[in-house]
């Protein structure tokens, strides 16, 4: 298990890379953006971006909003 901070919550995850993490959460990768340690992870790099202890991951999407 890898200890990461996922959307602000400490989490133990089995996923070895970003693609496995996103798919394991049941999220459609086309509808989100991922940031790892304040760096954007391009969709094409999900598979080749490993998860390591202490990583800070943010998974975001578009929600309703005006100002």
């Amino acid at each position: 298990m890898t200890k990461i901070l996922l959307n602000g919550t400490e989490s133990d995850v089995a996923a070895a890379n970003v693609l496995a993490l996103v798919e394991g959460l049941g999220i459609d990768p086309r509808k989100v953006a991922v940031e790892r340690n304040l760096e954007i992870v391009p969709k094409s790099a999900y598979l080749n971006t490993p998860l390591e202890d202490g990583d800070r991951l943010e998974i975001v999407h578009f929600v309703g909003g005006g100002n």
Binding site: N7, L25, G26, I27, I40, V63, G64, G65, G66, N67
Partner: protein, 256 residues
């Protein structure tokens, strides 16, 4: 007759941009956006709810083949937050056209113009086309334009206040001096406010609460669509001069 406007090389026919916040649900939101005739909708970037990833998603209702998404930085209070948010938005959807707003005081939601200008410079350097929410200050509006803003978006009144346009004089000055599109952003409460904004000669109006908080949002969206068209047409037509005294519109000659 088409009366389109262009921002950063993209041309739109509707002069109304609507927000997607505060609605009862995404279904009502989509219905109101369609009724408004808007081609652009503003959207926010937030964390995915990981405990319930099957929650309804904006993209499934307000669809991108129907609307141009304009990601905003609502809720950002520093330049770094704004840049980070818009980079994520760009990655989520590939958009370069974004709306920058950097706020200061949570009570007034007034923009922090010093920080806004600094953020704008960071985003322009990063290749974004940036529409900028700003105070109705002609000096700062000019500074934003010089720093590369692709549109200037002064407030008509505080965000979500519905007070209507408070300072027509400063908005007129901003509009007359800008070489990029000027949009009145925030402050509209009802249809006449939207028409009044368009009569000043601005290129478009952005609103959210005025539609979302109406008792019947879809009906208010229709009202806003007409108000924006009416205001624009009145501006292009050129209003009659104001006079102190009456001036009959029936001939005085030939009276019996």
């Amino acid at each position: 007759m088409t009366d389109s406007w262009t921002v950063a090389g993209r041309t739109f026919n509707s002069r109304l941009i609507v927000g997607t916040g505060k609605y009862k649900d995404y279904e009502q939101n989509a219905a109101a956006a369609r009724a408004s005739g808007a081609e652009i909708v503003t959207v926010a970037v937030r964390r995915v709810n990981l405990t319930d990833p099957n929650q309804p998603m904006l993209m499934d209702y307000v669809k991108q083949d129907e609307f141009t998404y304009l990601p905003n930085t609502a809720g950002c209070f520093t330049g770094e937050d704004a840049v980070r948010t818009l980079r994520l938005a760009r990655e989520a959807g590939g958009w370069n056209l974004v709306k920058l707003e950097v706020l200061s005081d949570p009570k007034t939601l007034y923009p922090d113009m010093e920080e806004t200008l600094r953020s704008l410079k960071l985003l322009v350097k990063d290749g974004f086309d940036v529409m900028v929410y700003c105070s109705d200050d002609p000096v700062y509006a000019k500074k934003l334009e010089e720093a590369g803003a692709c549109a200037i978006m002064p407030l008509g009144a505080p965000i979500g206040s519905g007070l209507g346009i408070q300072n027509k004089v400063t908005l007129r000055i901003i509009i007359e001096n800008a070489k990029v599109p000027v949009l009145v952003d925030a402050g509209v409460g009802t249809a006449s406010d939207a028409a009044a904004g368009m009569e000043l000669g601005c290129d478009a109006i952005l609103m959210n609460s005025a539609i979302a908080e109406a008792k019947d949002p879809v009906r208010m969206a229709v009202a806003m669509k007409h108000a924006v068209i009416a205001g624009r047409e009145a501006y292009l037509a050129g209003r009659m001069p104001k006079k102190l005294y009456a001036d009959p519109s029936s001939p005085l000659a030939g009276l019996i």
